[in-house]
Symmetry: C2
Subunit: 296 residues, 2 copies
């Protein structure tokens, strides 16, 4: 499998960072992650936009502009020939002389096989347990997952699948997913502050907004426990129903009707995106010095 | 310069981590840092103890026990011949198959030239600006410094040298240093909760406790502004006087008498430690398969 490293494509197994890199010494790095389906990188523009926003919040300068980054992604897909995959963009603080001050950022783009979840996972849903915490710089997609990973034994001990973070009585997000509820009045609600602005989250707000009321606002723990439905969204999961929180069933403890509808809307939107990209493919140039070879 | 990497000594310039390491992908790593003076690693037992505590908080298993880690440090000092240096112990989450789950930890030990601060830095003191924040897992020395580093422009803009974190009205610590005040009653006070348990901080509490009252408790911002003296402690700085906080002078804005006394006590203690280690040196074995070569 090939990876892109700063200026060119190399074998992924040779993609190493010197230990003076600030991602290693100071956790100073941002990333983004998206799926490919039928070799199409899903919503890649939105992910690259967010990647650049995350970089700006850490004062990191990517060495390639957005268009060039997109060409790198397409060329990586072409070279690896992995139709269903996950692609990670990673930008680090660079090799630091004093182990603290950022320098020229290192850009790494990797691809790995990724099969989308089975339908049975959706039918089963997931259980959450709440935990008081707010992520550092929540709107930047940094590599800071120390709390998330150290919570594994706590989550397992509670018989849950993931954590729902809350602070000052309001819930925010899960460890790697955004959180939504459907109220008993049929309104779709998701927190607006202190959360990562997920690409799937944005698509839900936009697409579901066409057929139902959507509110972006604070949600109390109490409102969560009494919701008609709850679900999480993420690039890797799309939509997953939440069937219980802190051991309390959400409604009857089965995936909700609106949750399933939202997942269907997203799936249709994904397919429309793929069809649209196939139509455009001859226009997208691949990465290279001359930068005008056709993608396929 | 040589570095130690998992099982042996290599050129530091070849010390690289594959990009699947969780320090890179998830900021999942702990470290420690201490000085050497006259080739003696200062308070190395305390630093190794804390390094192992940090590792345990992240469920990371170091591949070497404490005694072996100490032998690695001594052998690195012998190989590099750097008398005045900084030594970093780094333990990462390891190469992860799924980019999220920790595996076998990677241990890296590096050494770099380090000259201790000039006396003029002490005489000048430093200025702090307060910022509401608490570090994630503050008692583990993780590599999480995203907030610390992104605060640089804020600190410069305020004409300050460092940040003093506070939360819920109580101060905690600086970005890479612990914080003390001397009250108008001559009591030395430092926060006890939500801070990294600095090795220099512990030495201050222990050594100054012989000649003055020491309290480990919450300190309000108001108490800070009205303190008789304030100073920070760290391995690299030992003691530095704080002359102003949020633009308000501490007392007359000059380094305090007790601050200078604490620095002197620490310096004497350092020298005693070095003399003691010189006496013991023939007993400390260096790292190696047989593990019983004499250090020098």
């Amino acid at each position: 499998v090939k990876a892109f490293f700063n200026e060119g494509f190399i074998d992924e197994k040779n993609a190493c960072l010197h230990i003076s890199d600030l991602s290693i010494l100071r956790g100073y790095a941002v990333f983004d992650f998206f799926r490919t389906k039928d070799s199409v990188p899903l919503f890649v523009e939105a992910h690259i936009d967010r990647f650049f926003q995350s970089a700006a919040m850490l004062n990191l300068q990517p060495g390639h502009d957005k268009e060039s980054t997109r060409s790198i992604v397409h060329e990586l897909i072409r070279q690896n020939g992995l139709a269903a995959s996950g692609i990670r963009l990673l930008l680090t603080g660079g090799y630091s002389n004093d182990g603290y001050t950022p320098s020229t950022a290192n850009l790494i783009v990797t691809q790995q096989p990724f099969e989308f979840r089975q339908a049975s996972i959706f039918e089963k849903g997931i259980k959450l347990v709440t935990f008081e915490h707010h992520r550092e710089l929540p709107e930047a997609k940094t590599t800071g997952y120390v709390t998330a990973i150290t919570l594994n034994p706590f989550i397992t001990g509670k018989g849950a699948d993931d954590v729902l973070y809350h602070t000052n009585g309001s819930v925010s997000e899960c460890r790697r997913a955004n959180f939504f509820i459907v109220t008993n009045d049929g309104v779709l609600v998701t927190p607006g502050d202190g959360v990562l602005k997920g690409i799937t989250r944005s698509r839900v707000i936009q697409l579901a907004g066409g057929s139902m009321d959507v509110e972006v606002r604070k949600i109390s723990l109490d409102e969560v426990y009494n919701a008609a439905e709850a679900f999480v969204t993420s690039t890797t999961k799309r939509v997953l129903p939440v069937t219980a929180i802190d051991g309390r069933k959400i409604s009857d403890g089965r995936p909700g009707r609106i949750t399933a509808m939202v997942d269907e809307i997203l799936q249709e939107n994904e397919e429309a995106y793929i069809n649209h990209e196939f139509g455009l493919n001859h226009k997208i140039s691949s990465y290279g010095p001359a930068n005008h070879q056709p993608l396929r």
